[in-house]
Symmetry: C2
Subunit: 145 residues, 2 copies
């Protein structure tokens, strides 16, 4: 039930990762370590968060008083940055990875997705990444039955 | 910058809503009240959560021991249920709605999305729903600049 999904590594370029998310309208990307092992799922919303300056995160009303040209320069923040920098800080990072086995059932995938509140889970088979399952893909599988 | 997005009401059929999410591979749906006013955003992951029986949510290891046919019957749970039932319980529901105005800047939308951790925000103009902006759509707007 897995679908092919773009994979980036911790050292991939953040702007490239954001472009992948944007062009394919994905809810997230699979991030691997240098050995190709699943390391994290990077939700698109996490990249959006990275674009918001810290002082606006702390005081959202400031977003209203920043000139549009400044706001539009948000993407510049991604240039020359690695995907590693986009991931939540260690204490915020869930200890459990959203990874399922190729032979897991719809219910097992749903249970993991619900528990981790993640937009997609990585599907592996013998350590190899086969692809991912998004929440809407899972609903497709569930509704079809 | 808004895009057209399916809208359901609190009283819409839950199975129909799940089918909309599945067929259009959407990260969520806009939910309105009976007057057509935005009431909530229903993330696809929330519908997935609804499919997982309470005892599996409490003890995820049980998902492994349930027979596949039972797991596949998950969608039956959605039949004859209203969208209202899919939304998180009141105490869990964020007090603030993910709604932006048509003339808000990319940064304002990003700040709201980051704060509410929602996969999409509703765009309104004078009380009228124009559509929605997903996280990946917002990245598209940011990266393009």
């Amino acid at each position: 039930m897995a679908e092919q999904f773009p994979v980036v590594t911790l050292d991939s370029d953040a702007l490239q990762a954001a472009t992948l998310l944007a062009e394919n309208r994905l809810p997230g990307l699979i991030v691997t370590d240098a050995d190709g092992k699943p390391y994290a799922v990077l939700p698109a919303s996490q990249v959006v968060k990275f674009l918001v300056p810290r002082y606006v995160q702390d005081d959202p009303s400031l977003a209203r008083v920043i000139d549009e040209p400044d706001a539009d320069r948000a993407a510049e923040k991604l240039s020359g940055v690695s995907v590693r920098k986009l991931l939540p800080d260690k204490p915020e990072r869930p200890a459990e990875l959203p990874v399922v086995q190729a032979d897991d059932t719809v219910l097992e995938v749903a249970a993991l997705m619900a528990r981790l509140r993640c937009p997609l889970v990585v599907v592996v088979d013998g350590g190899q990444i086969l692809g991912a399952i998004t929440a809407s893909r899972l609903l497709e599988l569930a509704v079809r039955h």
